[in-house]
Symmetry: C2
Subunit: 236 residues, 2 copies
């Protein structure tokens, strides 16, 4: 039993924080009778403080009449996860996020909560930790976590903010596709490239692509394929 929304990004171009997700989130949380969400602010985008980040999330959820509580305000964060009605992990730096989750021994409680059916929303770095590890993050490794392992809430890795190659680009750095192909030299896990505005809607065993874009699926030793909204990633 899982109940999740795994989004490429919190914010699409020209729109407010979480705005594009508000209709689907609002309906989902109302249906589940959820009034409070535990927020995990550890990814700290731009180095924002845990308090400021929780306030930012709080403002977006207030529009849905939902209260946000930052996990950093609990004396016992493991209990906070165990008792949560719902959990939201915001984006930012995946290395810092995973470092904190490992240092505080929260990764396994988070995994258990997700598999027990607690509603989970992830955006960007918060979506990366739904995969088996953060080896397909785009983030800079500004801190060194004990381990790259993540929750394994899904059986593949996410590449958030997936970007197609820029036509006629004169920059010699690798494209996103080349990076994921290099990942497959050393790893056998499928990777889902989620474009900004796409999200995976998980209800128990179905893992459906939603939003306006196709997603790009990478498997080792196979050409990448495009899948349309409505595709069920549970087949991967």
């Amino acid at each position: 039993m899982r109940n999740m929304i795994i989004a490429s990004t919190s914010t699409i171009y020209g729109s407010e924080y979480l705005e594009y997700l508000t209709p689907v989130l609002s309906e989902r949380l109302k249906g589940l009778g959820i009034s409070e969400v535990i927020f995990i602010p550890y990814a700290r985008p731009g180095g924002i403080s845990h308090d400021d980040y929780s306030n930012k999330a709080g403002l977006a959820f207030a529009k849905m009449n939902i209260t946000i509580k930052g996990i950093h305000t609990f004396e016992n964060p493991i209990q906070a996860i165990e008792n949560a009605q719902a959990i939201f992990t915001g984006g930012g730096n995946s290395f810092q996020l995973v470092k904190m989750l490992h240092d505080l021994e929260l990764m396994m409680p988070l995994r258990r909560a997700i598999y027990s059916g607690v509603f989970y929303l992830g955006t960007s770095a918060g979506s990366n930790i739904c995969g088996l590890n953060i080896r397909t993050t785009n983030d800079m490794p500004i801190v060194q976590p004990k381990s790259f392992k993540a929750t394994g809430a899904i059986a593949y890795n996410i590449n958030a903010h997936y970007q197609d190659p820029i036509k006629d680009d004169m920059h010699m750095g690798e494209t996103r596709e080349q990076r994921i192909q290099e990942f497959h030299i050393y790893n056998h896990l499928p990777v889902v490239g989620l474009r900004e505005g796409s999200y995976i809607n998980i209800n128990d065993t179905s893992e459906i692509l939603e939003g306006p874009h196709h997603a790009r699926v990478f498997k080792p030793n196979q050409p990448a394929i495009e899948v349309a909204p409505g595709f069920d990633f549970a087949v991967l």
Copy 2:
């Protein structure tokens, strides 16, 4: 006593592998009487094999009448570094490169060789390992090294393939500058953003920016500054 060329990239747009560096390299190696370079192919760009990568480097150096020997062909790679006339570490994935260097216990021998004056050429990932750690790499963390620590051949970190923000970009991922600013939330080391075509020419205590571009220098709690070719990074 150090003797190094630390380059943003091996290859500039529209040019062959190492072509833009060949004049300066050729003169430098001739002046030092170097006939053989030990090549470190571990970063494996695109997953290329150690042999194929060494052959590619060999072709570029053959034009300078220099022989390349891949370090992977030595029974004792530590001795290979200790006995090297010169060392070249090619680009690719910084995590895989650093993983191999730590697994094979080559990081400290490499540092000692550099400080003893053995000529060192780094491009891209091979330049990242000249800094104190690889926390400012742009690469995907496709493997997990024991440590992010690097040689510390210079007293700052490199950001290779430095890219300016793309004007009017609708993508919501972080810019390179934002990533380096996040690095400075957790780290105090200066960072040099080296644009493609730029390199640092190190002769003993001078660390001069060369090539056609300015470089961008980042320090914690200070606005980034642009420095022109001829700038000496030793002042950082």
